[in-house]
Symmetry: C2
Subunit: 473 residues, 2 copies
């Protein structure tokens, strides 16, 4: 492709994206395609001969778009906000154009140093003290895996430099609430702790970890000859944005010499609002923290910010130093290949740079506050409605609700009714919700926070829910 062709098709694709985003509200939020439908549109064998890319825009409309679930749609209330702002799209374009590999400082100094500064800006924005240093990881799941690996190595005085975990005495234990994200459980398994050594601590009526239960569990394990190794506190659980008692957990972690990791994947974005910081009170007592600018803030995936107190501990766990990666500047620079799982790294910090320049901290704060207000408005509607029930506090932008018609009892029928409501709303296409289970009960989860979602979209959702609830009864 010549630079001239690239210009022409690049302009066409920029226009295509602008049109897609402008008209997104007319599309069904959740893709309605059947399994296999997209695959059937693609040839079974790769093309032998190349072609111009002109046909690609047609195919984007014909093949790809029907198979996209629109995360930037104003009716997107599923999972979590995952905004890819226009600023982030432009940054990804630029990063791809530069095509820089950012494994070491020398392989692209700008990528390393912009990342350093963006993590420093973000640290200030979320109100963490300078004892924390940030680095970009892919996703919260892999950042949490990093944390548990570091915990394992600290507890075993770097067993990986000797016989590994398999040579250790049995009994390193990981603790997290029963409402912690599945990636914590996955990380504990992948890091070699094993299911039997992962303690799911009970939660209170607000779905937050009960500190007293954690205390008992750690004490009991100690008496059995086990070693508490890591505690994961969640600030804003995926299900209901429940807030674990970070300060109490920090005290217990310190008492037993365990690593404290704070999983604030989505809620951490809200820490740019000073009025929200009570939610992770005690966070300064943690060893590591993950929060995802690629969720609510507006950088596209992947951009997880991982803050650690002891960078040397992270580097010792993750580093290798073969001859073909050595450079003459190594003593004076950060080589981020030694700060996480993968060796290769894209220039992801550019997304944060573009976004923060365009929005400023004020712009991001205003948008998040809008979402918090929209969530409070919907909470008021639910609380005022006779036949709807709210199943969790609304700390942030997630509501856990269910329809409870007069006279219905707890049980499978009620659960099925609520699952039907969610699936029916999703099929209608104006909104997309995630059904979930909270303390054994079927709930409908409403997560507000797409960049495009205004009050009117939340009002529409509320009307849809009521209509559908009547219709499916």
């Amino acid at each position: 492709m010549t630079p001239e062709e690239f210009r022409r098709i690049g302009h066409a694709l920029v226009d295509w994206i602008a049109e897609y985003r402008s008209g997104i509200e007319q599309l069904p939020v959740m893709s309605p395609v059947a399994p296999g439908a997209i695959r059937a549109e693609l040839p079974a064998r790769p093309p032998e001969r190349g072609a111009t890319l002109d046909s690609i825009v047609d195919d984007l409309n014909r093949i790809i778009l029907p198979g996209i679930t629109h995360w930037n749609h104003p009716g997107f209330f599923a999972y979590f906000p995952s905004n890819t702002s226009f600023a982030s799209v432009l940054a990804d374009l630029t990063a791809a154009g530069l095509g820089a590999q950012c494994m070491s400082w020398q392989t692209s100094p700008a990528a390393t140093e912009v990342e350093e500064m963006m993590m420093e800006w973000l640290r200030q924005m979320v109100g963490l003290s300078p004892q924390f240093t940030g680095v970009i990881q892919g996703f919260a799941s892999t950042a949490t895996l990093c944390a548990l690996l570091c915990a394992r190595e600290r507890s075993t005085n770097f067993s990986q430099d000797r016989g590994g975990l398999q040579a250790e005495e049995k009994g390193l234990i990981v603790y997290a609430s029963e409402e912690s994200h599945s990636s914590v459980w996955k990380a504990a398994r992948l890091a070699g702790f094993g299911k039997e050594n992962f303690r799911q601590i009970p939660t209170d009526e607000n779905h937050a970890l009960i500190a007293k239960e954690l205390e008992i569990a750690m004490q009991t394990d100690h008496e059995r000859g086990m070693r508490p190794c890591a505690v994961v506190a969640t600030t804003g659980t995926t299900n209901s944005t429940a807030l674990d008692p970070v300060a109490d957990m920090a005290v217990l972690a310190r008492l037993w010499g365990a690593w404290l990791h704070v999983d604030a994947a989505m809620a951490g974005d809200a820490m740019i609002l000073p009025e929200c910081r009570w939610m992770w009170g005690g966070v300064e007592g943690s060893d590591s923290i993950v929060l995802n600018p690629h969720k609510w803030l507006g950088t596209g995936s992947d951009l997880s910010a991982y803050f650690v107190r002891d960078t040397e501990q992270l580097i010792r766990t993750m580093s290798t130093n073969p001859a073909y990666l050595k450079t003459q500047h190594d003593a004076r620079v950060k080589n981020y290949r030694d700060w996480g799982l993968p060796l290769g790294r894209r220039f992801r910090a550019l997304k944060l740079w573009f976004l923060l320049r365009e929005q400023g901290v004020e712009g991001l704060r205003a948008r998040l506050r809008r979402d918090l207000q929209n969530a409070q408005w919907l909470k008021e509607q639910i609380d005022a409605a006779q036949d709807w029930e709210r199943m969790a506090p609304v700390h942030l932008q997630t509501l856990c609700i269910r329809h409870l018609p007069a006279g219905w009892a707890e049980g499978a029928e009620l659960d099925a009714h609520n699952l039907r409501i969610a699936e029916s709303v999703n099929r209608r296409g104006r909104a997309y919700l995630t059904p979930s289970i909270l303390k054994g009960k079927q709930i409908i989860r409403v997560s507000i926070g797409a960049e495009t979602t205004e009050r009117r979209h939340v009002e529409t959702l509320w009307r849809e829910l009521q209509e559908v609830a009547s219709a499916v009864q």
Copy 2:
């Protein structure tokens, strides 16, 4: 940002990239900036107020570009080819514009099904049988970590579902050549095997693993009560593209029930050339294979293709199934969140789709053959030159060479001389090379394969090397 502003700035950035790529040859390949220079250009605090992005293009030229090492430069002979073709840039732009989260089928069916088909196309392209199924992982390093985790779980009959690796009897062993990539060693440590249980098998005069040595090591470990768990064969080592004897290693792995992982990170791209497939002869006996289209083929990072024989084994190692991730289609579709380390996933398959449409298999084959011919040309020059020595066979596009002036002996002085040559070439800015160590000797590594590198650039490099070698003597 309004869609109109996005169009305007998007067009400007597309033009900027076209100009950057057109003029790239005039830039020094390796960034000449001093540590800290880029960071010093960035404000110490995030902006409170947002601004238009118009200033960004200025800043790209003023702040970012001097700090970029240009991997798409025709004089890029360092590390490995990491081409981000124009087609890939356009695909990344499109993927960012769509902003799809691809953790599950339902969260964007098109992303899952395009990935399925692209991995199927790639499987055909590299000549693997249908017993292998592909999935995109981030980088070869994380794909290798996946492989060793799967190996660990297979050898322990899924210890992670019980007491984990820490509850196992001591002695799971991982084998790889002493020339295997540092990420293999890192993966073995992170997976909990420990340094003492990682065997670096000696290599022959061509830097390939000696099968007899592997056989002895496995037998010896067995006699000591250890359990051979995983064998990593490298097709194309990073240092010298050495070719481990995959077929022999497959026999030994099968004999001892060990997992065979083939690390063909860069060389795997060459398997689209039928005449190169002898290089990984025996690959059908492996359990997993990684190759990186984001290296030589031309998709930008990250896009590692990970092929496995037993998908159920991979899924059982990586899956979690919480309520908030369940969908009604789960039984009939692939949910790639369960096929690797991270939960979140970008729509990366689009890069392969754009590239293959634009180039066709023929286009990619022609480019790779050009690079192989350029490497052979340079090999001939080296072999014909009195005072240059070639330190390894040239199977593909990497040359390991050194300057050996008449009368110089082996030793520190000769090593320092060759390191000086590489660093001096790099400072001059027309080419960028990686100095490395091979069997204890300082070498200069020439890796040919940037999309823009033509014969004349290799000729220029050869002149530079000769000039510099005379000058620094």
